[in-house]
Amino acid sequence: MKKLFAMLLTMAMVFSLAACSGGSPDPTQGGTSEPPASQGTEESTAPSQAGEENPGAAETDPDKINDNCNSADSTYEIAMITDVGQLKDKSFNECTWNGVKLYAANNNKTYKYYQPANGNEATDEDRYNAYKAAVQGGAKVIVAPGYMQENAMKRSASENPDVSYVFIDGYSLNDDSGNLLTNVAGIAFQEEQCGYLAGYAVVKEGFTKLGFSGGGGGTVPSCCRYGYGYVQGANAAAAEMGVNVEMRYSWEYGSNFSASPELQAMIQGWYTTGTEIVFACGGTMFDSISAAAAATDRYVVGVDVDQSSQSDTVVTSAMKDLIQSVNIALDNFYNGSFDSIGGKSSSFGAKDDAVGLPTASWSMENYSVAEYETLMAGIKDGSVVVDADYESGLNQDWSNLTLTIEA
């Protein structure tokens, strides 16, 4: 009904606007105090791991929490600045945002998101303006996913020492004169571990022609770690099984993490020429890759969150638990123990249960949950070592894997 109304409104507005003048919404004003129709298409995509992480919490489904918080005095304590891509990317941004919403709803905090102007072409200045808007909006703690936020965050954090910053996929920062910014908490993940788990699992499942399509043009550390781990895992499984696997590895058409006709055509080309499964490593690139997979009856590995609900083509997803890490960071902040993470680079991995595969929703037939648990335990106790140094490691001679890097 709400949609029908919005639709009618569309029509009414189009034809009342005579000839010219098109008002573009101000992109920095993400949430307004009047909530529009926010519950719509997203019901089916609730990240499945959301529930387990908040024992004793009142609300566990982030999709039931309004994206636009009502604040009596129009200030918002917890702010989030989005990374490139959109808020509801069903992946990185959305999951971080769900973490913020869950924490805020269960602890009665006000929250708001800010999207830097100019979308995927946002400059440091655009991001800085978003930070400025957040601080002026009364933010006490700012959660910012994405390593590209570094410069804007550095500037904002230097100017506002009273505000705390949580830098997801990031690291500790120094201000321009080289002093450590103790109000910035860098939180990174050991993506190579869940990439490894995914690569190992799909090869054990029986796939021999793999693909990797990553976002960020090969400059985003988290995506590089995912990819490098994926290659290592595939190689290890192939070595155990005594088979040889092929992998096509590409950063093409992913530089701003968005879906595009070109990406879809390229991946469809891969699938048509034999590739069986592609690791879609980057936000809404998933849309293009899953469409190509659906067209050719092939398969996809999801990223960051469990994406199996978005497409039947998803076999499994390499997940990192953003909700949990946001929760830990905000908890530290509100308990007055921000010092324990501020000014440091924390890294969450298998030992913190922060990476893994969704065993409940995966569609593996030949690879069992028990085998997965064994491997996971191996990574935890250190008997399986996953290398994170992708710059020197990726181009080695793989024993059972032919790696074709396509630009």
């Binding site: 129709a37 509801k88 006709p261 390229m266 891969w270 849309d287 469409a291 067209a295």
Partner: protein
């Protein structure tokens, strides 16, 4: 090879139909620069339509039974909705340029600026994000023809013809080709077509023979809007997983280029669109193209930088334009508001 044919058609058909949209407007004497904007708007309405019908669950049964005929009917309805919205949207342009005698380039540009802003604005209201997706599933599983529909197994081959033109194609593509042919015939072989073209060449003469120039120009632009709106939705359906984000990657402007490239003539336009689609396809997937079927990807083996392949469609356009533009001639009266008093 079959992949190359399929993919080329997917790129070429939206270009072709939108370029024909441009022809209808320009042949009637109105420069329709707003093709891009109308495409964006048509794509948006088409996706909203698909999304709403999915939410209402009308075709869920057909999807569950793999009743592809019903699903194709659904796609056609969405195309109709997109065409209708495109026609309505283009009325803004016709009103400004026929009734108000405004400058047509500026009117078109205004629509181009307005469409993405407006569409994004409504997408944010409807979906609270910058892109509107289907309510469930993905475009291929709903709207694409698959061999399983015709009793073939997953690994069976449908033969060259079947693989190239039936398996993994969208019937929307063929509807567009059919429309293209029918409309081209109308433009050249019927009384209406002749009158429309005369309004773009010499409206004063046409008027003196009792043809209502305003009506003809409205007709031309409205047909143009409907085609562009439909083309926008077909673009979204076949290349963007049936999602709308206030952008059609400049296909509207490319279609304008294709129209000029094709010298305002349907047959040339079809050729130009196919040429452009072919190179666009090569640019995106040259690493997977096996032309003669011997398992060697020749274009990849050449070791040329991927950037070169990506430039190709545009370089080719420039080169061909340089050689053909001397011969090209636009409709004589295009862009000039018709004034009855002027003789």
């Amino acid at each position: 090879m079959t992949f190359l044919i399929r993919q080329t058609l997917i790129y070429a058909v939206p270009l072709m139909i939108v370029a024909l949209a441009g022809v209808f407007a320009e042949r009637s004497g109105i420069i329709n620069l707003a093709l891009e904007g109308i495409m964006i708007f048509g794509a948006f309405i088409g996706v909203v339509f698909v999304n709403m019908i999915q939410e209402a669950g009308v075709f869920d049964g057909a999807k569950a039974d793999s009743n592809w005929a019903a699903l194709q009917g659904f796609a056609m309805l969405a195309m109709l909705a997109a065409a209708a919205s495109g026609a309505l949207f283009s009325l803004l342009l016709s009103f400004a340029s026929v009734n108000l005698r405004a400058d047509q380039t500026i009117g078109g540009t205004a629509l181009n600026l307005m469409a993405p802003a407006l569409v994004l604005f409504f997408i944010r209201i409807i979906a609270n994000q910058n892109v509107l997706n289907m309510a469930g599933g993905d475009a291929p599983s709903w709207f694409m023809l698959r061999k399983s529909y015709f009793g073939y197994g997953r690994t069976d081959s449908m033969g060259f013809f079947g693989e190239a033109f039936i398996n993994q194609t969208y019937p929307a593509t063929y509807v567009c080709i059919l429309l293209f042919i029918v409309l081209s015939v109308i433009l050249y072989q019927t009384r209406f077509g002749l009158r429309l073209r005369s309004c773009g060449e010499n409206p004063q003469a046409a008027d003196s023979l009792g043809i209502n120039v305003y009506k003809m120009r409205y007709a031309g632009t409205t047909i143009s809007g409907a085609l562009a709106g439909m083309g926008g939705f077909v673009y979204a359906l076949t290349t963007a997983n049936c999602s709308a984000n206030g952008d059609v990657a400049g296909f509207g402007f490319l279609a304008l280029a294709v129209m000029i490239f094709g010298n305002w003539k349907p047959l040339n336009i079809a050729g130009a669109a196919l040429l452009f689609g072919l190179f666009k396809c090569i640019a995106a997937s040259y690493t997977s193209i096996d032309i003669n079927g011997d398992g060697i990807f020749m274009l990849k083996e050449l070791g040329i930088s991927s950037h070169l392949y990506r430039m190709l469609p545009y370089v080719i356009t420039l080169v061909v334009l340089a050689f053909t533009s001397k011969k090209s001639h636009a409709p004589k009266a295009e862009g000039i508001p018709y004034d009855k008093g002027q003789r």
